[in-house]
Amino acid sequence: MTATSKFTEAQVKSVLSRMPYSKLIGVKPLLMGHELTLIMPYSQEVIGNPVLPALHGGAVSAFMELTAITQLALQGGHTKLPKPVGVNIDYLRRGKPMDTYARALVAREGKRVANVRVRAWQESFNEPISMLHGHFMAARQKSNG
């Protein structure tokens, strides 16, 4: 991870509360030191194929986007939430009916735009189910855009 500013669980929860969508997929934070992992707990709501069962690709993608935005918002101390500009998602493994974890790495943070990489995994960090990389508009301080 790049050098991160220190943030607390209360700050993470405050950012999540600004994104009502996080409730829909039940996102919870897990802080280890100052490294943030978000959890999307298993629930019926995130299932895409009820027969397998398998998680919905869209739920996993949205979860990774949310992780990127949360990490950026905390790390950059932005007053406005960062917005996605373009993202690429690779689906590597089928999402099993269990909790999913995600962690974001800010590869570069410029004045207006940031490049972020997110990994989502379940049983093992080394066996990601999906990975995202993309650009987010994250204006530092006042000026937006």
């Binding site: 994104m19 299932i47 009820p50 690709g57 869209g58 998602i89 089928r94």
Partner: protein
Amino acid sequence: MTDSPKFDIKERREKLWTIAPMFTEGTPHGAALGLKFVAVDIGRATISLPYNAKLIGDSETRVMFGGAVTALLDQACGLAAFSALEKLDSLATLDLRIDYMRAATPGETIIAEAHCYKATRDVAFVRAIAHDGDSEDPVASAQAIFMQAKSAPNKDEADDAKAAETVRGGTARA
């Protein structure tokens, strides 16, 4: 598509209209989001997502979360790919690219229109746009690649194929 389809078009259309709602309202996540099936044809799919407070990504602007638009586009692309492949069988998404051109207007329904512009035996290439009424002024666009699951050696894939058949009530054999 330039290749002549290796299936009965009329029969395929009828099956698609029966199966398609299972891709939207029929999945638990689709139901949680509020996805609505609009239309399907061979290589084409339209799905909508009505605005809902649960889908907001920023409580300050009340704009729908980008990830919700992603889920909508993913589903529309998947249905377009499914409809174009030789066999109506289960699919795996390989990758998905989304461009967010502008914020969705709060309160408006988002409509995703997907087109599978090329389908080989196993792979489907799809483009899609999401708009809130005017397709000339899209909210987002997508590009995706899907692969047909093979009902052979790999256990995961065999499970996928079996499940797809069960979900689609045995209509999967084309």
